[in-house]
């Protein structure tokens, strides 16, 4: 694990001058992940905000080898890169140790990219897949994805007079990944950067496919002031909407248990996409969201306690 001074001193793998929005948290997540990765890396990224803002030809923000293929296939693409690495290393045509990181947003991972991710995990390619979950199709203008929270207002599931935002609760992608029997998977947040740094280091040290799901607040999509990005990430953790936990070789470990679990409204009240939840007539929706957060949290705590017993 690195100190903040050490992290700050490491050369950036992403240059300044990219075109991310002011207050963009996904780009902060990328910086944190890349500064945590030491040694040679080759990166891939699915189509989405991060690919668009870092690679407008003839420029690139990437100081490491980078490939973008399409929206739904970064896991399959990096599978091919990693297979090439194994072939060429065996033939003596590549002499360096290289690690592979695939990045995808929630749409490119939870939805259209789930198949290629599942295939890569099942085959066991030696790569780290980082999902930057900003909870909607932000690059195309804030459409709901299966990662979008219940009742959130988006352009395709707006909070109207009859339908009040997204009807479903978010897919639990991290547990879907764990069900592939991967050696390591985790959830992380930019607000807890030490935890994120340690997780990236661990993921890259493990042989085989590893996965880190990073919550990545989006100021225009979630509709909060751009200076509050880190705070939105922190509150998601403190309300237990976004548990920080990891799964390491069969053992689930809860990394953070808030001293005082905050009500979900402490997180939702700052965001325009949830404004309608704070009206009296929609109190039942906020209650349903809270109930689901509590249910998932209690289930996770129990699973981690049982895991601890198996250690």
């Amino acid at each position: 694990m690195a100190t903040i001074k050490e992290l700050a001193q490491r050369g950036d793998k992403l240059s300044p001058g990219h075109r991310a929005c002011a207050g963009c948290v996904p780009i902060i997540a990328f910086h944190q992940v890349l500064r945590s990765a030491q040694g040679h890396v080759v990166c891939g990224c699915a189509t989405g905000c991060m690919e668009v803002v870092t690679t407008i030809f003839p420029y690139t923000a990437w100081k490491v080898p980078f490939i973008h293929n399409a929206f739904e296939n970064v896991a399959a693409t990096i599978s091919g890169v990693e297979a090439a690495y194994r072939a060429l290393k065996r033939k003596g045509r590549v002499d360096k140790d290289i690690r592979f990181i695939a990045f995808g947003g929630d749409g490119g991972t939870y939805d259209i990219g789930l198949q290629s991710l599942s295939g890569a995990l099942e085959r066991g390619h030696n790569m780290l897949y980082v999902c930057y979950d900003n909870e909607a199709y932000m690059n195309t203008g804030i459409q709901r994805s299966s990662a979008t929270p219940f009742a959130a207002d988006t352009k395709t599931a707006p909070a109207g007079k009859v339908h009040k935002g997204k009807k479903q609760f978010p897919k639990n992608l991290t547990e879907i990944v764990i069900a592939h029997n991967v050696p390591y998977a985790a959830q992380a947040s930019v607000s807890h950067w030490k935890d994120l740094n340690r997780k990236v280091e661990r993921a890259l040290a493990v042989e085989g496919p590893t996965f880190i799901n990073v919550l990545a607040p989006c100021p225009p999509g979630w509709r909060f002031p751009q200076e509050l990005g880190i705070e939105m990430a922190r509150l998601a953790v403190e309300t237990c909407f976004w548990p920080l936990y990891e799964y390491d070789h069969g053992v689930r470990i809860l990394n953070y248990r808030p001293k005082e679990k905050l009500p979900l409204s402490e997180w939702t009240k700052h965001q325009g996409r949830f404004r309608h939840l704070h009206r009296a007539e929609n109190a039942h929706l906020l209650a349903a969201a809270q109930e689901e957060v509590d249910r998932r949290w209690e289930l996770l705590v129990r699973m981690c306690e049982q895991s601890a017993g198996q250690k």
Partner: protein, 395 residues
Amino acid sequence: MAQIVALTGNEAVAEAMRQINPDVVAAYPITPQTELMHKFAEFHADGLVDTELVLVESEHSAMSASVGAAAAGARAMTATSANGLALMWEIVYIAASLRLPIVMAVVNRALSGNINIHCDHSDSMGCRDSGWIQLFSENAQEAYDNTIMAVKIAEDRRVLLPVMVTLDGFIISHTVERLEILEDQQVKDFVGEYRPERYLLDVDHPFTVGPLDLQDYYFEHKRQEIEAEENALPVIEEVSRAYGTLSGRGYDLIEEYRMEDAERAVVAMGSTCGTAKVVIDQLREQGEAVGLVKVRCYRPFPYERIIAALTKVKAAAVLDRAVSFGAKGGPLYGDVRSALFSNNGQHSVKVIDYIYGLGGRDLEEDHLHKAFADLKRVVQTGRVEFEVGYLGLRE
């Protein structure tokens, strides 16, 4: 010393792949391609190749992994048919526009919602404008030879484009034929080693593949891709001659069969050319001046060669094993007529089209006899009674 063997078309391509020994192969099953990858997987299991075999979860991922592998610096190959090719369509375009020299066998099969697993060319035709080079094979021997040549063509610095080598599904893929195969070392020497100028695994020279390419530059990149495809014509001729020297089997962009003094000709691709040759020999025995123009290289389309071959005859029938719905006739017909029109209209060739063999329906010798008889009537009357006809269709 060539070895004579009996192999199906699928086995012949797998054998070529074994000899090429690619760095990465991505595989996913689909009839009638499947046995090709079965055989290659056996070679892999027996340690006869040191390829990284990536057994992907879909054809979309097969092409995606091939793109990743080729961009990383590996020689990458894959194979598919029909719906599998359609599923990877998006990435087929990406492979060409990223200028990656991937080689893919396409075992032709009907692409349709009333599902069919037998031969037609609708799958290859769906990709003809994607920027890939497309080589059609007449038989197992050509499938084997084309696969070896495809690697050298794809990786030529003047080209750097992916290549599809086609085999007619079941007709070539599953039929055992006699063929000659080269020695392993001859193939390895012919294809050489893949040494890309820039590749992702060269971490000391990092670069970005597949950036966002907007109005400022996109058009120039397309122009470069257009020129690469045009450059492929002389490269294919060159590689084909070199392969002829090595194997004794010369190839060209097209093959003219008994065209020296032909008055009438058929234009065809794939296994049908073999049937056409049999019928032409029969008709020649009866004193009829008939011939065949076989299109081996379909993309890039050999316009000049088609013009030279067909302006010698009075009438020609194009045989299309695919439909261009809404267009007149099939895709090959459209290209042939375009070629003749390009000749400043300076020709008197009457051209008609036949659509045949869809969904694997057999083309019989009688059908070709009918086509040549129709052409004879065109020559005698000087009039084209129909522009598009059908062979073997109940009406």
